[in-house]
């Protein structure tokens, strides 16, 4: 692949990103290719040495913050005209309400995502409390002279302690899984914005 082809392909792939960001990165890669050519590599070899366009795009998408991508999409590129500002002000009861509801949906989805892991941790803590409660129950029953009931309570406590060991592993795995899922969702949102720009 020739240098210009590579840079064009990269520019197209990054179309949805903030425009100043795209141009700055493209000129950075252009300089890198030129320096390799200057060192004696052929144009094709210099381009191949840089990596694939898709690989570079994935790395860049991972590095740029989702806020920067969304801001670039939403904030207008030119100064608003007077009638546009009036329309925005008049329409604010509708669009502001819609915006707040959209944000509320995003926040609630995020809360739902984490609620699974939080519930599992709540179960884990409850099992630990029950295990300790078993020992406390035994001591109390022994003190009251009802040892049979005390040992039944201790048995339940021992079962809870066993379940606690399983639950702590489940909670840790769920937390790790949720973190991974949250990261992938952010990547997916970023990818969505960039694909939209490709059309």
């Amino acid at each position: 692949m020739k240098k210009l082809e590579f840079l064009d392909a990269l520019r197209k792939k990054l179309f949805g990103l903030p425009s100043h960001e795209v141009e700055e990165r493209v000129s950075f890669y252009s300089e890198m290719i030129d320096d390799r050519i200057e060192e004696g590599l052929s144009e094709e070899a210099a381009v191949a040495d840089i990596g694939t366009v898709d690989g570079i795009m994935m790395q860049i998408v991972g590095e740029i913050s989702v806020v920067s991508i969304v801001k670039d999409k939403i904030v207008p590129k030119r100064k608003l005209r007077a009638w546009e500002i009036v329309l925005l002000a008049l329409g604010s009861p509708i669009w502001l309400a819609l915006l707040i509801s959209a944000l509320a949906v995003v926040v609630s989805l995020y809360a739902v995502l984490w609620s699974v892991a939080i519930s599992m941790w709540a179960v884990t803590v409850s099992l630990a409390v029950c295990a300790l409660g078993g020992v406390a129950g035994l001591l109390l029953c022994l003190y009251l002279g009802n040892s049979a009931t005390g040992f039944v309570i201790l048995g339940a406590g021992v079962v809870c302690a066993g379940l606690f060991i399983f639950a702590i592993y489940a909670s840790l795995s769920l937390t790790k899984g949720t973190v991974l899922l949250a990261k992938n969702i952010v990547l997916w949102i970023k990818g969505g914005f960039i694909k939209e720009g490709e059309k």
Partner: protein
């Protein structure tokens, strides 16, 4: 390796590559290659971060009929290298203590 730790190490590597004289992207990659592997994309992000933190300055100059960006370390960048050396002196003494423990465990 821990991501934060690696990020800090890469920052200091890049600062060291421009410590004695200003340098450009490809030269930084070549100079640091024997010690650490970093892609162009990673270098770009590091340079941007260091520029925002005012640890280096950037200027564009003509080279062979094209523009090339040159990066120069600032006082704050030099201070960062100094801090890194102090931090790692401490880390190395802990490392020596840990490996000495390992050696005595093996003997036993």
């Amino acid at each position: 390796m821990d991501i934060q730790l690696k990020r800090g190490l890469l920052d200091v590597c890049v600062l060291t590559a421009i410590k004695n004289e200003e340098s450009y992207g490809y030269k930084i990659i070549k100079d640091t290659a024997p010690y650490v592997q970093m892609s162009e994309s990673t270098l770009y992000t590091i340079l941007k971060r260091l520029e925002t933190a005012k640890m280096l300055t950037v200027r564009s100059a003509e080279h062979d009929g094209r523009l090339r960006k040159y990066y120069k370390i600032t006082e704050s960048g030099l201070n960062r290298i100094g801090e890194f050396k102090d931090e790692w002196r401490e880390v190395m003494s802990i490392y020596k203590f840990v490996t000495k423990e390992d050696a005595s465990d093996e003997k036993a």
